[in-house]
């Protein structure tokens, strides 16, 4: 298949793997964080770690939009969906995320109308078809999905729709990366930068990572060869003791981002003073809320949202996993009490979550696998 197979070529992967291995200094350990959950998914889905030498460890970062939603926000969403006359729309990823009283699926089994949509624009269709209902879109995601929420709001405003609103949970990636860089638990050598977020914000916002923290960043695409090439580019920088922001995903990511998308976000949303991230706690200026100008489309203004903070179950170590301090299997409930079918933590729910990716795709001893595959 064109534009897919080229980026999954096993021969090219073998060649890159040899070049990466040649760049490893003997005795040195390398820890590279892939910030984005999409990368984590690709790495496990294609078995990319099989190509890496033992001395390179990939650390999974916080960039999974579902994983960072705290339990309290799920409860708030279900509370909104339980109001009379409300249809809630949500991306499929959110449907199984547990709140303190169950997930959206459980809420539906008890009578709410939470519908899966593939695009926020589908919510407008539902709003037009149900003029007597209030359609609330559960907006989640980083800068990747915020523009589509913004465009949907602008279109609703242009159409004069009065029964559509947004429950805004959009978050921004830079404060989360900064929180990780400032965390004392973790020593990282470099970052595989998020690709889709960067299509919107560009590469410039990462410059502080190289300048102030001395860590190289390579913005990467989502096919396995993209990631392998980005690891190679990071290793070249490290071997030359450079720390710069480089763009491997230049076929999609413009250095300055997408100005139209940024403008749409700026028109409809503004930074919140603070927002709670699952496992990471409150981070200031790390999320977006609907601007006063669009108050009529802000579910948090239209409805009473309880906003109760719900503590994570004690055993859950999502925070450590999201920060890359723990590998998924090092969490003490991983795979026994917390599984994809009955997740306790969000990292086990989304296909982009590190725990789900490891459980579904990587739950095996790789050394042994390599031996078996060769024999």
């Amino acid at each position: 298949m064109r534009f897919v197979d080229e980026f999954r070529d096993a021969d090219k992967a073998h060649a890159l793997a040899a070049k990466i291995a040649a760049l490893c200094e003997p005795g040195r350990q390398y820890k590279l964080m892939e910030v984005c959950g999409g990368h984590t998914h690709t790495i496990y889905k294609h078995g990319l770690e099989d190509y890496l030498p033992e001395s390179i460890t990939l650390v999974h970062g916080p960039g999974c939009p579902v994983c960072v939603i705290p339990m309290g926000r799920v409860d708030d969403a279900i509370h909104l969906a339980s109001q009379p006359g409300v249809i809630m729309t949500s991306f499929g990823d959110m449907m199984r995320v547990p709140g303190s009283g169950g997930s959206f699926f459980d809420a539906n089994a008890e009578g709410t109308h939470i519908r899966m949509v593939y695009s926020p624009l589908d919510s407008l269709k539902i709003a037009r078809q149900n003029p007597d209902k209030q359609v609330v879109f559960m907006a989640i995601g980083f800068e990747t999905t915020a523009p589509s929420t913004a465009m949907t709001m602008l279109r609703a405003a242009a159409e004069g729709l009065t029964n559509f609103s947004v429950f805004c949970n959009h978050v921004t990636i830079i404060p989360a990366i900064k929180a990780i860089l400032d965390s004392p638990d973790l020593r990282l050598d470099g970052f595989i930068g998020p690709g889709h977020v960067s299509t919107v914000i560009g590469c410039r916002p990462y410059e502080f990572i190289a300048r102030d923290y001395g860590k190289p960043v390579v913005v990467a695409g989502f096919e396995p060869l993209d990631i392998l090439q980005s690891i190679y580019m990071l290793m070249v920088q490290l071997s030359e003791s450079r720390a710069e922001v480089e763009n491997q995903y230049s076929r999609v990511v413009p250095w300055d981002g997408n100005l139209v998308a940024l403008k749409a976000i700026g028109e409809t949303m503004e930074l919140r003073p603070y927002f709670e991230w699952r496992g990471l706690g409150f981070i200031s200026h790390s999320a977006l809320q609907v601007r006063q100008k669009y108050a009529a489309m802000d579910a948090e203004r239209l409805f009473q949202v309880p906003g109760v903070r719900v503590a994570d179950p004690k055993a859950c170590q999502c925070g450590e996993v999201l920060k890359g301090v723990l590998k998924p299997w090092e969490c003490k409930v991983f795979g026994t009490a917390c599984t994809p079918e009955t997740p306790i933590g969000t990292c086990m729910v989304s296909p982009e979550g590190a725990c789900a990716a490891y459980y579904n795709f990587g739950r095996m001893n790789r050394n042994r696998v390599a031996e078996v595959a060769q024999s």
Binding site: D50, M95, G101, D106, A109, R363
Partner: protein, 379 residues
């Protein structure tokens, strides 16, 4: 579902060797080599997965119909538990029943009528039986157009004729508008077991080959696109077809077939997992070897679905001894429904209970049972 299930789940989980894994705790504990520790965790998970399944939800959710983990749990914990008997337990039948709730009722390549006949014919055929007679039960919604009903029934008649079976008894119920979605059909079928071979996925042995009879995922993707919710169009048809002819040819050529399954809900991945679990063997599949139409691959890529989990309604997965693999593929390819039959993997001793995939990229990963339901009501 309330908070209490979390506590319950925690109570069930085994104590581990490394509690309090904060950075602090980790530094204080004397630890084994990372590889060993990871292996200990993997072993613990393996034990957890072998425990008897339990339905934790208080209400039925759409996931229970997905054919994935939740479906397996529901069947094992609720139905098998209640009806437990030696004939039911292996879940390989010569009397079968199946209900059809597909939406939309009519789709490219078929409709709920031929699906209801072919599905039950196939359930019997993969058990090694020659299907003979079917029953048909209809649940109709008030207001359902009679013309549509005629179309469905005619298509059932044609499908029955093509498969060489007769519909010999039936039932009709009508429910008020809003209490059903147009038309649901249940069919049950009986067949005769022509040979005393002991077919079943538990018979798989290391060295066996795993074969599919053609491109996978056509039905599921066709239904998904036919719903028109995705604004994607592709030149695709459902693969709904009776497999009894294809299977008769295979059994004639390769009497030593160990097991057969038709890859419906949950797709080929689910069957590979059933093999690994029932026979306590490992399965190694090769992504490059699995036939998938470009249209199905393209749509799956766009939607973020793995074709390995997408339903087929006319595809056979067979386990045969390794030395019979070529003969089996040749026998399948001799039939029009099996022209693209291929060996997609092997049964092995290593990693019992686990299905592993050699990816086209050249890496390895696990293929687990599906969790949740990407696509309800496909059959």
């Amino acid at each position: 579902m309330t908070r209490s299930w979390i506590d319950e789940a925690l109570a069930q989980s085994e104590p581990t060797g490394h509690q309090g894994l904060g950075a602090e705790g980790r530094r204080q504990l004397p630890l084994a080599e990372p590889g060993d520790r990871e292996q200990q965790v993997l072993d613990r998970i393996d034990r957890a997965r072998r425990r008897r399944p339990k339905v934790r939800e208080e209400r039925v959710t759409m996931s229970h119909g997905s054919g994935g983990k939740a479906t397996h749990t529901l069947i094992e914990a609720i139905f098998l538990d209640a009806f437990r008997n030696p004939l039911l337990e292996p879940l390989e039948d010569a009397l079968t029943t199946d209900s059809y709730v597909v939406s939309p009722l009519f789709f490219p390549g078929g409709d709920i009528g031929d699906l209801a006949v072919n599905g039950t014919v196939n359930d019997l055929s993969v058990a090694g039986a020659t299907p003979l007679y079917l029953s048909a039960g209809f649940i109709l919604e008030e207001g359902f157009p009679v013309a549509d009903l005629s179309r469905v029934v005619e298509s059932m008649r044609d499908a029955a004729a093509a498969a060489g079976v007769q519909v010999v008894t039936g039932d009709t119920k009508v429910v008020q508008k809003g209490k059903a979605d147009g038309c649901y059909i249940n069919t049950a079928g009986v067949g005769v077991l022509g040979r005393d071979a002991d077919l079943g996925v538990a018979q798989a042995r290391p060295g066996d080959a795993i074969i599919v009879s053609g491109p996978i995922g056509d039905h599921g993707i066709t239904i998904m696109l036919a719903r028109g919710e995705l604004d994607i169009e592709a030149d695709l048809c459902s693969d709904t077809a009776p497999l009894n002819g294809l299977i008769a040819g295979l059994l004639d050529a390769v009497p030593e077939v160990r097991a057969m399954r038709d890859a419906t809900r949950g797709g080929v991945a689910t069957i590979l997992n059933e093999i690994a679990k029932a026979a306590d063997v490992g399965v190694l599949a090769v992504e490059d070897a699995i036939p998938v139409r470009p249209e199905v691959r393209g749509a799956s890529e766009l939607l973020g679905i793995d074709p390995m989990y997408v339903a087929c309604e006319g595809r056979l997965v067979a386990v045969v001894p390794g030395e019979a693999a070529d003969r089996a593929v040749a026998a399948l390819r001799a039939h029009p429904l099996g022209e693209q039959a291929a060996v997609i993997g092997r049964v092995r001793e290593e990693q019992p209970g686990i299905v592993q995939l050699k990816t086209a990229f050249g890496g390895t990963r696990i293929v687990d049972l599906l969790v949740g339901d990407p696509l309800p009501r496909i059959c």
